[in-house]
Symmetry: C3
Subunit: 358 residues, 3 copies
């Protein structure tokens, strides 16, 4: 889909430095670009490539424009502007509404005529598929599941009974929304299953990565608010609420009944213990474990960095006696104070000693 | 499915405080309940809601009954009793035996007439599906797989060749039982695959969460005993044995050839190194890594708590020199003893005495 | 598939100690073997079973042969030789080319006549399936995906649009290759999706474990080189490159734009932060987090070992004040030096000199 730089400047509100009639039709990195490509500079580390790039135009911030050997689209937020341009150049493939001959759709399911139900899909009783929604191959909507308008299940997605997905969501393969939460009541002879009777409610504009799982609530619903972006292989337990515009990186795991605020950034492999609250605007670096509620916005960490194995082993052996070590230090300090005091008795009138003398 | 409080009391062995003719038909939390609902108190933190709940009845322990504004069902284990009542009020939907027109069942597979094989399911050669078992949409049983009676594959479950599942199990979407274990023999030019010739054997009353994977054994079988409950996205390697009534929380990973005892509780994201044994009644808190066998029941941990990022960074930089720090402390102690000894040379015969001097 | 010891010795280049006419037809562990079975000794821990094994023959190293009560196949690398023998005794089941009646194959897809497309599979427009490739039930190849010759999708595998898999690969159930990378550009009102326009390119002889996900590149491709072996539930982000003959254990997560060298071993649950480089021949022990590039081959660790919970809690509380503790130790050292200097005032001019005194 070729478009001129002039049109890009107008459409995406950029200042153009260069010839408005040059046409681009694809995106590329600064290093690999050839004429016809749009590139971008969002990370200062790549600024050195501005001088040599062969892109037709680079989306960048005002203060980098001078270094740019080619045309520039100056934007306040070059990465977001690049994203919008890339979307514009690569629209989602259009599709006609209808259903594949192999799809199985329950009689009382509601499928909008503009939606597509793909090969080997299943849409259960009372389920609902909105306008221009897309069900890729082997997608399953169990009874009563709802997929909002313009939402897209790429392939092999499972929406369990009653799971509700809003509009313009994107669900990648292997996603499971609404499996039972992990509710087991301990009893004398093992465990009794606690029926998971709530549902999952997902807002609009939510993206859910491949093989991510979001469990249904035990009594009430698990809720994912608008604009939440979730990476692959994330696990979200029952009764959680994830605040709008929060992003969750791959392999993070959030136990049941956790409330996560708005605009949080949860790093990869972060774990959150159950029944906690994390306030708005909390950033958690990778692999941290949240074991208490967080009430103050900010950046939190909890993972030791890597080290050469032998040294790490020595240090972690010391860690296992860290409490003892701290007590030994306290003893040395006490001894030092005592010695100083004794010294003072015979020699120097130091304040401390002075204060402590009767 | 409405039921009277009197019937609940009799059926579940509770003492009823209140009118036996009141009828309930659903469950609710203490805060959200309306008349007609059963609620429960299992966590003391919610006791404050007993005075204001609008539930028709609350399942609780004897010593909480006095605080309860409405009828009470007094039980020794309110959570397990609640679970049973919730099951009773919400029975699994009944289904007729048979197979969907789109299901593919091998000629020599054995499917009990009371079992249901759903849309787009595949049941391979020599596979077997027991009485009243349920195969939700897109479930795959490869050759020789066995699903026991009354067991339920919700949707999109894969049982690989020869995997055997007992009775009354519940397998959630995306579960893969019996994929090859990770056996790779290193050789001059990369790796040679070690054929994974064992199977997986899962007992009765086992629940397996969404997208969990349990690998087949290399030579013998991987075994999951009766009553084990496994959450989502758990990975269990080849040749493991998981003892009965053990529970494993989400995203835990157990390497190959690990034996886990009975009644263990394995926290979320826990990792277990291969070829270890964990005895009965071991509790592992979230994100711990088990790198040695555990021979003593008890509670074990291994994950640093979260901290404000700057402070965490300072502390973890110190950790990387912890061995050195400990040596410095030892040196200070030595110097202190020497100094004391020198002191004593002129005064007292040994360190001990020196320390004890007034 | 029975075979004589003599034939095994010739075919796999071993020295046979024993009767070449004895026939074996299966593998077994040393402890469980019965006559007719091949066993092996690769781990010295099991050497004690050599004296009592009932196997017909044991594959082992030269220096263990003397202890072996039965026939021996002496090999330089017994585990790799065992793996090859086990493959020979247990060949993959043969299959005829063709497609199941329920498979859906786009008109312009290219499927080699010797390939099998199983029940409920989908092969999209422009996709390509090589000679003797195998698509197990419910496997999905979206538009333009390529599966190389002799590669095998066990069941329920998803190759997203344009994903390319080489020859002789093995993809286990639930694998998702080529889902969108996690590209989200932050903007005033939430996030803008960054289109993921690259593909995934996987080499030859790669194995990918159940429910593992490998994302497509943002602009260029995500690349997995020849001979890489990946366990279950591993996550590999967009634009990564994994060097040949690297192995990645279960539940590891590699963020976007990471380059991993050749012949690395990445332990279970290891996490790698984005945009890093790990050189060749790096070994990472389980649960480590890589937060800086690694430029030196070797063994690296980063996870504290498990401890009894109460002791761990005390030690980790101390960790949260480790920086302060280190400062206290530095103060004690300073005080000690000062005290020594004062001492020396009466005898020698400075610490150094003091130490140098005869």
């Amino acid at each position: 889909m070729p478009v001129s730089l002039g049109e890009l400047a107008v459409r995406f509100g950029c200042e153009l430095q260069g010839d408005p009639d040059v046409v681009v039709d694809r995106v590329a990195t600064l290093q690999d670009a050839a004429p016809g490509a749009v590139s971008f500079l969002a990370n200062p580390k790549y600024r050195k490539h501005l001088a040599s790039t062969r892109a037709s135009v680079v989306v960048l911030e005002a203060d980098a424009a001078a270094d740019c050997a080619v045309a520039a689209l100056v934007a306040a937020n070059p990465y977001a502007t690049y994203a919008r341009i890339a979307q514009h150049l690569n629209p989602e493939p259009a599709f006609a509404g209808g259903r594949h001959a192999t799809a199985v759709v329950a009689e009382d399911a509601t499928v909008d005529p503009s939606a597509w139900v793909g090969p080997h899909c299943y849409v259960g009783a009372g389920a609902s598929v909105g306008a221009a929604a897309f069900l890729g191959p082997n997608t399953v909507l169990l009874d009563g599941a709802v997929l909002g308008s313009r939402s897209r299940c790429v392939a092999n997605v499972t929406l369990c009974a009653g799971a509700r997905i809003g509009a313009r969501c994107l669900l990648h393969p292997g996603v499971v929304i609404g499996a039972d939460g992990f509710g087991q009541a301990q009893d004398r002879d093992g465990y009794v299953k606690v029926p998971q009777l709530g549902a999952v409610s997902i807002g609009d504009d939510v993206e859910v990565g491949a093989n991510t799982t979001i469990d249904r609530g035990a009594i009430g619903d698990t809720v994912v608010e608008n604009g939440v972006k979730i990476d692959n292989q994330v696990q979200i337990g029952h009764n959680c609420r994830i605040g709008e515009h929060t992003v969750i990186a791959g392999c993070a795991g959030i136990s049941g009944s956790v409330t996560v605020g708005k605009r949080c950034m949860i790093g990869g492999m972060v774990g959150v213990v159950g029944h906690l609250e994390i306030c708005d605007d909390v950033y958690l670096t990778g692999k941290a474990m949240v074991s208490h509620s967080i009430t103050k916005p900010g950046l939190y960490s909890g993972k030791l960095p890597l080290d050469e194995a032998r040294r790490f082993r020595r240090n972690s052996a010391r860690f296992q006696k860290l409490d003892e070590l701290a007590q030994r230090v306290a003893r040395l300090e006490r001894d030092g104070r005592r010695a100083a005091a004794k010294d003072d008795d015979t020699a120097a009138p130091d304040d401390r000693a002075a204060n402590e003398r009767p």
